[in-house]
Subunit: 154 residues, 2 copies
DNA sequence: TTGCTCCTCACGTCACGTGAGGTGGC
DNA sequence: TTGCTCCTCACGTCACGTGAGGTGGC
């Protein structure tokens, strides 16, 4: 009777539609070790839980926003994956030093991601400014042509 | 005949090194009609001028920062290409209405680029905020673990 | 039972990477 | 002349796209 919503699992097609990718992409990520389904039912069906959903979203965000290769994604998220794998045992009373070790490993990777984001932000900002000024130039030029429409210059 | 500003031309290897891509990329872009060398010497050598340099830089920036496919690049820069092609004849006394037509065609494309940039900026900003808060959480958690252990700081 | 979704090959595609083998220009 | 860079194939690779042919679950 206790059908907790957080226990909901997704079949590969449901996950794909929810995240906005094809099933091929998800299977390919599994092929290269980027994302394994939490459960593989006896009937060979892949089943994904909520942690898989966030993991996949994270991967896609890094891929799309930072333009990283899948190899780079693996390197940048390995600690996260380890952390997720250990999260279930978190209440299994690991020692504080063990916990600290996991957290300590995750920090530099998040810092690296943040640096990449900031670099991109600067480049995008520069690009945006250039486009804005180019647009203004074009609009001014257009006005000039339309004003002198009646006159022919050589 | 008016003297050109900069008549310096680049061979494909020089262009590649200056922009930071391989010669294969440049040849591939020519293959699919994205970037043609201004001059093709009798010896079959490709020669690029300053306008080709900026064109290529522009393409790469759109590709890298916005993650567009080469088909999308072609669509977003076709007007620019036409404008560049006509720039040499600009002083050939085209009528004002002709000039206005060229400029008028370029404006919506620049506007579309700007919109894409702004959308990316928002998504990157959201991502950056999330990473920052995640980082803070991790650091706070780390401190908790290290408290009570009388550890020295680094 | 009937669709629908799932499964595993496996070839196709996009955007190049990487030689092979040869010619030309400084 | 000697290197170096250029040329054109052409096969390889990465990250999937797209069926083919078959099985399983709601």
């Amino acid at each position: 009777m206790t059908t907790r919503r957080r226990d909901r699992t997704y079949r590969i097609g449901e996950l794909a539609e929810r995240i906005g990718v094809t099933t091929r992409t998800i299977r390919y990520y599994e092929e290269i070790g980027l994302l394994a389904p939490s459960i593989r039912s006896k009937g060979e069906q892949r089943l994904y839980d909520e942690s898989d959903v966030t993991r996949l979203q994270e991967l896609l965000r890094l891929r799309d926003l930072l333009g990283l290769s899948l190899d780079e994604l693996a390197a940048l998220t390995e600690a996260e994956q380890a952390r997720a794998a250990l999260r279930d045992q978190w209440h299994d009373n690991p020692s504080d030093s063990e916990k600290a070790k996991i957290v300590l490993a995750a920090i530099p990777l998040i810092e690296r991601q943040l640096k990449l984001v900031q670099t991109r932000q600067r480049r995008l900002s520069d690009f945006g400014k250039e486009l804005s000024s180019r647009l203004e130039t074009l609009r001014r030029r257009l006005e000039e042509f339309q004003e002198g429409r009646e006159q022919s210059r050589s």
